[in-house]
Amino acid sequence: MQVDKNMSTILLYPLINCPVNCEYCFANPEMPKQKYNKELMVKTLEEISLDRRDTIILHGGEVLSLPIEDFEYFLKAMYKLRGQTHIQTSLMGLKPKHIKLFKKYKTNIGISVDGPPELNILRGPRDPELNKFYQKQIIENIEWLRDEDIYFGSIAVLSKCNAIGDKLETLIKWSKDNKIGGRFNPMFVPFWSKTLSQYQLTPEELKIAWIRLAEECLNDYTLSWQPTREFIDNLIGCGNLGCCVVNRCDYLTTACKTIMPDGNIARCDRCFQDGYYYISDRPITTRAEILQQTECKGCRYFEICGGGCAGEGVNGDVRRKTYYCEAYFGLYEFLEKKIRGMFPNVLLTPDIPNYYNNYMNGQRINFVERFQPSSWLTNSQQSNNFDLGHEDHCFGECKNER
C-alpha cells in the first residue's frame, strides 16, 4: 500500500462512542456506525507505516472507553512499530489499569483541554452537573499523571470562550502554572453546523491570540507551544514543514491519514464533514498548486503555508485557502521580524524561490553559508524599509474577499 510523501500523522480511529459530548465536536452525526475490526486496523497500520517515522495516534471517540484488552492491543501494535505510543484523550474514565499500560508502552498523552474549568466550558457533557464532575475529573487526572511521572501535552481549542481579552491571559497563566505545553488550535467549525460559528474566533482575533502566545514563547525557551515553535522551524528551514496544515495538505489525500474501523484508509477526520471518508487512490497536490496561482498568488509565506488547512476553507469550501489566512500570515510575519531583529542578514525560507519543491524533496539549507555578520547593513536597513507587511504578497488584496 503506497502513501504520499507528505503523510505526517496516522490516526488509529476505532470510532467508539464518546461519553464526553463536547459542544464543538465535529464528528459527523450521519457517519455510519460500525464495530471496529482491530486485526484489520493493525494490519493496515503495519503496511502503511513500514520504513516511515510518522506519528501514530490512537484517536477517535474517547479512547479510554475502549475495553482494556483492546486498548492494550492497539498500544502494543503501535509500540512494536515506534518504540513509544501516542493517544489523544479527555482523560475521562482514566483507571489505574491505563496508568500501568501508559508506563509499559511509553505513552505520550495528548489531553484535550481548553484551560481551567471556567474557560473549558465548551468541552465535556452538556448537562451542568455532569460537566462539573467532568471538569473536576480532568484536573485530578492531570495531577495523577504528573504524580505518576507520565508525559503529557495538550490540545487546546481556541474560541471566544478562552482566547480573547482577559480570558486569553488566564489561559496563558494556567498553561504556564501547570507547565502544560502543546497545541493551540483554532476551533474547527464543520460546514454543516448551524450554531458553532458563534464561538469561532475571527481571523483577526486568532492572529492576536497566536501572537500573544508567541510572545510568551519567545520570552521562555522552555515553552513548547504550537504553532509558534513549528512556524519558527518553517521560517528557518529546519526539518519538515509543520504542522500538517501547512504541508501542502490536499483535501483528497490529506497529510494526516485515518485508519477506519473497517481497516481502510480515510482522510483527516476534519474532512469527514462532507460525508465522504476514503482517501484518493493516488497522491494529489492540486489544491495548493492552484491556490498558488489564484487566492495565494504572490503571498510571501505561500511556500511554508500552502493555503493552510483545507477543512478550514473559506465558506466551508475545501478548494479555497484557510479562513484563518490573516492569522497564519500574521504569526509568520511577527516571527520573521523577530528573527530578523536578531539576525538581520539571515536567509529565511520566504527568501528562497520555490522553497517547497526544492527543499522538501531532500535538499537542505546550508545553515553556515546563509548567515552574514549581523553587524553588516542590510538593503532594507539602508533604505529604512523593513515593513514586511507591504512587500510582494497579496494579503492586503485578499482581505476583502473573505
Binding site: 483528497l252 462532507d274 465522504y276 489544491r287 496561482q293 489564484t294 475545501v318
Partner: protein, 269 residues
C-alpha cells in the same frame, strides 16, 4: 472563460462513500464499457467515425484490432499521454513513451481523411460533430458553448426548459430532466451520450441515448445496469478554483477544469 492560470491536468479522483468502496471497480468497468461502445458504434455502422488514441505500449495490438475489424486509422496529432479524462489535449512534437497518437477510425478512408482535414487550421466543429453522428441542434449549440467554456455543464443547464436559478447567483437547479443526457459525471467514466447535448431535454439526444443504451446492453448488460443506476441518482456539480467537485450519493469525485473567476454549481434532482 478566464484562463489566467495554468490549469493542471491531474487525473480525476473518486472518493467512495463509507461502505461503498466497490464503486471504484464499478467505475472502472463502466469506463471500459463506454469506450468499447464508442468503438463498436463505428464498427457496426451506427456512425461514420470516432476519435481514437493509439497508446505507446500497445499500438501494435491496437492497429491489428482496427485492421481486423475492417476499419482504418489516420493520425491527427501527437499528444501528451494521460489517464482517465482530460479537457484538452497537450500537443507535442516529439514521439516517445509518453506520447499518444490522437486520430480517427472510420470504415471509409475518405471519411477518415475528411475528419483529419476538419482539424486543420481552424477546427471545423460542426463537420466533426456530423461525422461523429451527433444531432444537428447539439452541434450548433456546442459551437456557441465552446466560445465560453470547455466544460459547459452550467451553460447546458441554463438552456434547459424549467431550470431554476438560485438567489445565490451561483446555483442552477435541474429537475425532471432526462438523466441519460447527463454529462457531468463523465470525468469518472459515467456517461451515455458521448457529446454535450444542447439541453437536458433535447429530443434528438434522447433518441441517440436510446440507441446507445441498446448497444451498451448488447456489449455488457450487467455493467450497463450499473451505469444506468448511477446516472439516474441525484448529484451536484460544483466548479471553483479550476476544480470540479461532484457529489453523488455513492461517491465524491474531483476533476481539474478550466479557471473561471466565478463559482458555478448545478444541482441535478
Amino acid at each position: 472563460m478566464n484562463d489566467k492560470i495554468n490549469v493542471l491536468n491531474s487525473p480525476p479522483v473518486v472518493l467512495p462513500r463509507y461502505g461503498y468502496l466497490h464503486v471504484r471497480e464499478d467505475l472502472r468497468l463502466i469506463s471500459n464499457l463506454v469506450e468499447q461502445t464508442e468503438y463498436e458504434s463505428v464498427k457496426r455502422g451506427l456512425r461514420l467515425a470516432n476519435r481514437y488514441h493509439l497508446t505507446p505500449f500497445n499500438f501494435d495490438k491496437e492497429i491489428e484490432k482496427v485492421s481486423k475489424d475492417g476499419l482504418v486509422f489516420l493520425p491527427i496529432s501527437r499528444v501528451k499521454n494521460y489517464s482517465g479524462f482530460i479537457h484538452e489535449h497537450i500537443y507535442i512534437n516529439d514521439i516517445d513513451q509518453n506520447t499518444l497518437i490522437y486520430g480517427v477510425i472510420a470504415k471509409d478512408l475518405d471519411v477518415a481523411k475528411d475528419f483529419v482535414d476538419a482539424h486543420n487550421n481552424e477546427v471545423d466543429h460542426k463537420s466533426i460533430g456530423e461525422m461523429l453522428g451527433y444531432p444537428e441542434c447539439c452541434r450548433n449549440a456546442f459551437v456557441k458553448f465552446w466560445e465560453r467554456s470547455f466544460d459547459p455543464i452550467q451553460e447546458i443547464a441554463k438552456e434547459t426548459t424549467g431550470h431554476k436559478n438560485c438567489v445565490d447567483g451561483v446555483t442552477t437547479i435541474i429537475e425532471n430532466a432526462d438523466p441519460n443526457l447527463y454529462v457531468h459525471l463523465r470525468y469518472f467514466g459515467i456517461r451515455i451520450i458521448p457529446f454535450f447535448p444542447c439541453s437536458y431535454h433535447c429530443e434528438e439526444s434522447k433518441n441517440f441515448a436510446k440507441k446507445w443504451i441498446s448497444l451498451m446492453k448488447d456489449i455488457d448488460s450487467k455493467t450497463t445496469d450499473k451505469l444506468l443506476k448511477l446516472i439516474n441518482m441525484p448529484s451536484k456539480w460544483d466548479l471553483y478554483n479550476a476544480q470540479i467537485i461532484v457529489s453523488h450519493p455513492f461517491f465524491m469525485g474531483r476533476a481539474t477544469s478550466y479557471y473561471d473567476i466565478n463559482r458555478k454549481v448545478v444541482v441535478f434532482r
